[in-house]
């Protein structure tokens, strides 16, 4: 009894440290210390658990912990910041895998005699856990690009997905009513695994921020369900924190794209673009600019706003961007960075990349902060961003992205867009911005274009 009390006290302390850790993330200066406290909370929880009365053998535990550390250390220390989205996606898989396996073992341990409330928790745990395992793996594959990043769609896809989900729910209910049938249990797991694959298949690259956040939430909910199943409060608390965080992030991401959850999950963005928009663009011409002229314009501007997008991450151009910014600042130009909430492949992706390149965080501006500033901006430098600066979102109700909040770069006095080619971006949406009279295009790989710009600015 005393031992149980001791463990509960430790769990309470861990939970408080976790909440304080998350609270510290409200400010970048305090965040690091706060998260180190949270890590301490985790150590406490692990040590406390080892005093659990049921634990009698330590061979599996120690080998598992060592193996996990050996695999986890490089995943923590050596993964480049550009690969962060897939790194996070795969970690959701690990989390969900742990929850699912615990669920299976618990079910197995009851040998069919599961009380109904426990069965409901276990069912929920393995259902969401298994779905997250394959879903996250698919997301990982798409982000790592060994599975196509384009939406994979076929006729009747939504009907298939919805009926799969429906059958899974029926099996879940059946299990709660008649828990003793392991065939149903494993059929449900198999179905959930399939569902995870099918759910992520139709989702394209630019929708990844929503999906990664949603999977984050599912992984958390699976952990919380584990807590219900084994009656452990610290698991319930952490799972709820994770679930709330992922849910909140997916709402923020959906809002930033002006789409509903349902639309992201079921409204695959792969439909061909309306012919009118594409045809319209044919008559227009783009102005391309040489690095010399671009450097001249940049060097004599008062304020430059840099708009990074996924293209910057792909080209790994964040360091050159900062180099260019430093040069401009040395010439007395004010440089700011405009970050759209869904720029990149996960929430906050651009911020991390720029922070890695030593851009101070007080120069990174959110959409709401920077939009009023474009009017006083001499030059907006768009690096590998497309949909998030497409004015059609404001003006063209027939555009698939109509209504999505965008960065108002077209209000700047002039715009330079760094782009690989004139291929339209994701889902083939034409971008009117590129044809505006005040826009010039600097074609080529973002990194080499920027390197040439740096060279030219140095020579000014």
């Amino acid at each position: 009894m005393n031992r149980e009390l001791f463990i509960q006290a430790i769990y309470l302390a861990s939970s408080i440290l976790f909440i304080l850790g998350l609270k510290s993330l409200s400010h970048p200066d305090k965040a690091r210390l706060g998260m180190q406290q949270a890590a301490l909370g985790m150590v406490l929880a692990i040590v406390g658990t080892l005093f659990h009365h049921e634990i009698v053998r330590y061979d599996f535990i120690s080998v598992g912990l060592i193996l996990g550390t050996v695999i986890g250390y490089p995943l923590g220390m050596f993964v480049p910041m550009t690969a962060m989205p897939q790194r996070i996606a795969i970690s959701h898989m690990f989390g969900a895998l742990a929850a699912t396996l615990v669920g299976i073992a618990e079910y197995h341990g009851y040998a069919g005699h599961v009380p109904r409330p426990t069965m409901a928790a276990l069912g929920f745990e393995v259902l969401f856990g298994a779905l997250t395992v394959t879903g996250s793996f698919m997301a990982f594959g798409k982000l790592q690009e060994f599975i196509t990043g384009r939406p994979v769609t076929y006729r009747g896809q939504n009907a298939v997905n919805i009926s799969l989900f429906g059958v899974a729910i029926v099996l879940f209910v059946w299990l709660v009513v008649r828990p003793e049938n392991p065939v149903v249990f494993f059929a449900m797991i198999g179905l959930a695994l399939l569902l995870g694959v099918f759910m992520v298949l139709p989702i394209g690259g630019a929708d990844m921020p929503v999906v990664v956040s949603l999977l984050n939430s599912y992984a958390g909910l699976a952990s919380a369900a584990t807590g219900f199943a084994i009656g452990n409060n610290v698991l319930i608390i952490c799972g709820a924190l994770d679930g709330a965080s992922g849910f909140l992030l997916s709402i923020i991401m959906s809002k930033a794209m002006n789409r509903s959850f349902g639309n992201v999950l079921f409204g695959a963005f792969g439909a061909p673009p309306p012919a009118s928009a594409a045809a319209q663009a044919k008559d227009l011409t783009v102005r391309s600019i040489s690095p010399e002229d671009a450097a001249l314009q940049l060097g004599y501007a008062n304020q430059v706003v840099i708009v990074p997008g996924y293209g910057m991450a792909v080209a790994q151009a964040q360091h050159v961007v900062r180099e260019l910014a430093s040069l401009l600042e040395a010439k007395g130009v004010t440089v700011k960075y405009a970050i759209h909430p869904v720029a990149g492949r996960m929430p906050g992706h651009m911020n991390v990349l720029l922070a890695e390149a030593n851009v101070p965080y007080d120069k990174l501006y959110d959409m709401e902060q920077i939009n009023p500033e474009f009017e006083h901006t001499d030059m907006a430098l768009v690096i590998g961003a497309n949909d998030v600066v497409n004015p059609a979102a404001r003006s063209d109700p027939s555009s698939p992205i109509y209504g999505m909040p965008i960065l108002d770069v077209d209000k700047a006095k002039s715009v330079i867009v760094l782009k690989r080619s004139m291929n339209p971006g994701f889902a083939g949406i034409e971008n009117q911005l590129f044809y505006e009279p005040r826009t010039s295009m600097l074609f080529g790989d973002a990194k080499s274009s920027l390197t040439r710009l740096v060279g030219e600015v140095k020579g000014l």
Binding site: L22, A31, I46, L75, G76
Partner: protein, 121 residues
């Protein structure tokens, strides 16, 4: 009772997380991921209990998967947070190289490994 805890925790989480700026959304994600690896607690009991070998093996894989997230998750969060710095400190030239060697910060998460392993033997 447990539902009560869940709802309360979700509420606290909502309150705390709405205050995280978009600037730190990626670290937030990796942090919550590391924290939710608390399912390690459940896996440890399975791996160490004297039930049957299937439970032990399932527990073993679960311990491995969860501790990957604990170690990797806290390390990568720390690595990211270390990079966020204010501008007025010193601008320009002195860009410190970001080696993976990370001397001091790794102390906290690295301590995790020996700690649980210790009482085990």
């Amino acid at each position: 009772m447990e539902l009560y805890v869940f709802v309360l925790a979700a509420f606290v989480g909502y309150q705390v997380i709405t205050r995280v700026p978009p600037l730190l959304h990626t670290p937030l994600m990796s942090a919550t991921n590391a924290i939710s690896a608390i399912s390690l607690v459940g896996s440890l009991v399975l791996a160490g209990a004297n039930r049957d070998s299937l439970s032990n093996w399932l527990g073993f894989v679960a311990v491995t998967a969860a501790s990957i997230n604990v170690v990797g998750g806290f390390l990568i969060t720390d690595r990211m947070l270390k990079m966020f710095r204010r501008g007025d400190a010193k601008k320009g030239g002195g860009a410190p190289p970001l080696g993976p060697g990370a001397p001091a910060p790794s102390a906290t998460p690295a301590a995790k490994t020996p700690a649980p392993g210790g009482p085990g033997r």
